[in-house]
């Protein structure tokens, strides 16, 4: 499928969620390299660091200490070398306000954290195999929120 392993970065302060995420990636058996940031500050420092290899997809939790996901999103979109990063919002919240805000700020997809491990695996599978070209046009409000069939 892909020549090299898919580079995934998850920014989430919740240890359990990071664990689920890691397990799910292991189980979907796609060659990936998963990295974690423990909060918004750490994420931004990592992204801004000159030696950092930028991830293929950034999973961004909204509710994080020090710097929230929304603040990170705005900062990323303001930074020239980061603004083309594919960003998947990965949040517990499904409030219209959050969905609307992140869509406007330029996130590519909105994933509500599932309450079932199998669902998580399905989502991850969906996201990594997504035709990103379609999703990076940033115009389609209807497909922004990822719904599982």
């Amino acid at each position: 499928m892909q020549k090299s392993a898919l580079h995934i970065l998850l920014a989430d302060d919740d240890e359990d969620d990071r664990l689920f995420f890691k397990d799910a990636f292991e189980e979907v058996k796609i060659q990936t390299k998963v990295q974690f940031a423990h909060d918004g500050m750490e994420l931004m420092e990592h992204l801004m660091h000159p030696d950092t290899i930028l991830p293929d997809i950034l999973f961004l939790d909204l509710n994080m200490p020090k710097k929230t996901g929304k603040e990170c999103l705005i900062e990323i979109k303001k930074t020239d070398h980061l603004k083309h990063l594919i960003i998947a919002i990965y949040s517990t919240s499904s409030s219209e306000e959050d969905i609307e805000d992140t869509f406007i700020q330029g996130a590519n997809i909105y994933i509500k954290k599932p309450s079932n491990f199998n669902a998580l695996k399905k989502i991850i599978n969906e996201v990594v195999t997504l035709n990103w070209h379609y999703h990076t046009s940033g115009l389609n409000r209807d497909t922004f929120l990822l719904r599982l069939k």
Binding site: D14, D16, D17, F20, N63, T92, S93, S94, S95, E96, K113, P114, S115, N116, F117, N118, L120
Partner: protein, 594 residues
């Protein structure tokens, strides 16, 4: 209603009175003249008669002398001579009187002189007769001459007197004629003038009495409105005042004194009196404002505190307006309101608003807690359950597996509860943006949302054309979803669910207890199903939050769905009612304003 009747009669009345007085003066001057003329005329008549009598007397004196002399000549008795001797004196006196009476008439004076000459001649003949009849000097021829001459002179005297009488009569007649001609016109003229004056006075009397009646009526009205004003000032806790900027005179209404804690007219207000009542904290602003009134001739709204006689602090509001009256004096008309109660009410409202804002904020943070913080641990519980039941299923005992399933069910139920609660609170708090939306589109969206369960239950939905209305689109969509899923949930076993949606336009007046009457027309949209229905006695309670008619094992649910429906319809100033026949179906009717 015209408040001040137009009393323009005084001017007309003044003119009428002036004319009447002029006429009366004219009439009295005419009658005065008339009177004088009459006096003159009677005077001249008297004058003529006096002359007449005097002339007759003169003649009779001469005759007396003649008769006496004749008696003496015949008898030679000197006693007959006495009248002759006295007559000369009498004649002389008569002459003096006549001369006086005729002093104004030269012609009569001339006649009088002739008469005098004739009488002297007559006396000369009388003396001659006496002389020549005497024994000693008797001369028959001379006596005859004297007697004969005397007779002729006597004739002349009579003639002269008659002539003089005629002259007087002529004068009298002439005067009488002039007088007659003068007075013949005046009575008719005076009477007609008098009648004119009388008419005018009567007219003006009528006008005056009319005016008095109108004055009385408007006076009564004025009295009533003054009283009304005073009463309304008391009831409305306000007062009026006037400040004459030219004379610096102040006039307070009765209630102005009361507002300051005094009985009406307890003191004579002056320009600076009011300042004494103003709270020390507001004094500077207030006196600046007074100067402002003098400079700018107006008083904008001002809020300030006063201290009453008894030390009570009251909150006042004043406003004034410049009025320039007919005499050109500048008067500020002002109203002062006692707004103490209002002031404290405002403070209370402000505080309550703040509390409300605070509780709204709390509600919003509750939303956040519910949407994120509550869901997160729950989600993890669910995820861990799913991990256990997938990965470690085989190592679990049967009872362990059962417990895990039960934990899963409870967690799921809690999730639904949280989601529904969240939905309910969002129905209240999220911004309400009304957009003109085609309800048919919203219904289609709702059907799409429910497509899975519709397919599963093999349900049919038939709908009439729905209108385009100004609504909050996602809320109406939610309303449709809730109503349809409610019908599907309580469908009868072995009966394919059918939902019929119909729509009519109705007048609010037809549902006086249900609909807000200020909105005239509503759309009545009914959802009729063939489900199991419910006991109609619960047709109101089903809309109450957390109210359920079934146990949660029979029909899972949170008791929030229909409460959300009610909230949404209320957000749209509409109404929702339900009715049912058990085992036949239910009808949900929503009313949305046009």
């Amino acid at each position: 209603m015209k408040l001040i009747p137009n009393f323009n009669s005084p001017r007309a009345l003044r003119i009428i009175f002036a004319i009447s007085i002029f006429i009366l003066l004219f009439i009295s001057s005419v009658s005065y003249k008339h009177n004088r003329d009459m006096q003159n005329s009677s005077k001249s008549m008297m004058h003529t008669y006096e002359i007449n009598i005097q002339l007759e007397r003169l003649l009779s004196f001469v005759k007396d002398a003649e008769t006496g002399q004749r008696g003496y000549i015949i008898t030679q008795n000197s006693r007959f001579l006495a009248p002759y001797l006295f007559s000369r004196d009498k004649v002389n006196r008569s002459f003096i009187a006549l001369k006086k009476l005729m002093a104004d008439n030269p012609k009569q004076q001339k006649n009088l002189k002739n008469l005098f000459d004739l009488i002297i001649q007559r006396y000369t003949y009388l003396e001659g007769s006496l002389k020549y009849s005497n024994e000693k000097t008797y001369d028959k021829r001379k006596l005859d001459n004297c007697m004969f001459g005397g007779r002729i002179v006597m004739e002349n005297i009579r003639f002269q007197i008659d002539e003089m009488n005629d002259v007087e009569k002529d004068i009298l007649q002439k005067r009488q004629k002039i007088y007659q001609s003068e007075i013949s016109l005046t009575p008719l003229f005076s009477i007609s003038l008098f009648l004119v004056a009388l008419t005018l006075i009567l007219l003006s009397y009528r006008q005056i009495s009319n005016d008095i009646d109108r004055l009385r009526v408007s006076n009564k009205k004025l009295l009533i409105s003054t009283k009304l004003m005073a009463e309304s000032e008391v009831i409305g806790a306000f007062s009026t005042w006037q400040w004459d900027l030219d004379t610096n005179k102040m006039v307070y209404s009765d209630n102005q004194f009361r507002l300051l804690g005094y009985p009406p007219n307890a003191f004579v207000p002056e320009k600076d009196t009011f300042l004494n009542f103003v709270h020390p904290g507001d004094k500077r602003t207030f006196s600046n404002l007074m100067q402002g009134i003098i400079d700018n001739k107006q008083l904008p709204i001002i809020y300030y505190k006063v201290i009453r006689k008894n030390g009570e602090i009251r909150h006042f509001k004043s406003i004034g307006k410049l009025l320039i009256d007919e005499q050109g004096s500048k008067i500020i008309l002002g109203i002062t309101f006692d707004i103490t109660e209002e002031h404290f009410q405002n403070i209370a409202i402000y505080e309550r608003n703040k509390e409300l804002e605070k509780s709204n904020k709390e509600l919003a943070s509750f939303n956040h807690v519910a949407s994120h913080d509550l869901q997160e641990p729950l989600r993890k519980i669910q995820t861990f359950i799913s991990r256990i039941s997938d990965k470690d299923k085989d190592s679990l005992s049967e009872s362990g597996k059962e417990y895990i399933t039960k934990i899963g069910t409870s967690a799921k139920r809690m999730r639904i509860l949280i989601d529904d609660l969240l939905l309910f609170s969002r129905t209240n708090t999220t911004k309400k943006e009304f957009l003109k939306t085609n309800l048919n589109d919203l219904l289609k969206k709702a059907e799409q949302e429910l497509s899975e369960i519709l397919l599963e239950k093999d349900a049919t939905i038939t709908s009439e054309m729905l209108p385009k209305l100004k609504v909050i689109p996602y809320q109406i969509e939610q309303l449709f979803i809730n109503l349809i899923s409610n019908s599907l949930k309580y469908s009868q076993p072995n009966v394919l669910p059918e939902i019929t949606i119909s729509c009519t336009k109705v007048a609010a007046a037809a549902f006086p207890n249900l609909l807000e009457q200020s909105i005239k027309k509503y759309y009545k949209i009914t959802f009729t199903d063939n489900g199991m229905g419910f006991d109609p006695q619960f047709k109101e309670t089903i809309f109450v939050l957390f109210q359920r008619l079934h146990s949660k094992t029979e029909y899972p649910g949170t008791g929030i769905g229909l409460a959300i429906c009610k909230k949404i319809v209320e957000n749209h100033n509409g109404s929702i009612i339900a009715d049912s026949t058990p085992n036949k179906g239910s009808i949900f009717t929503i009313f949305l304003p046009e």
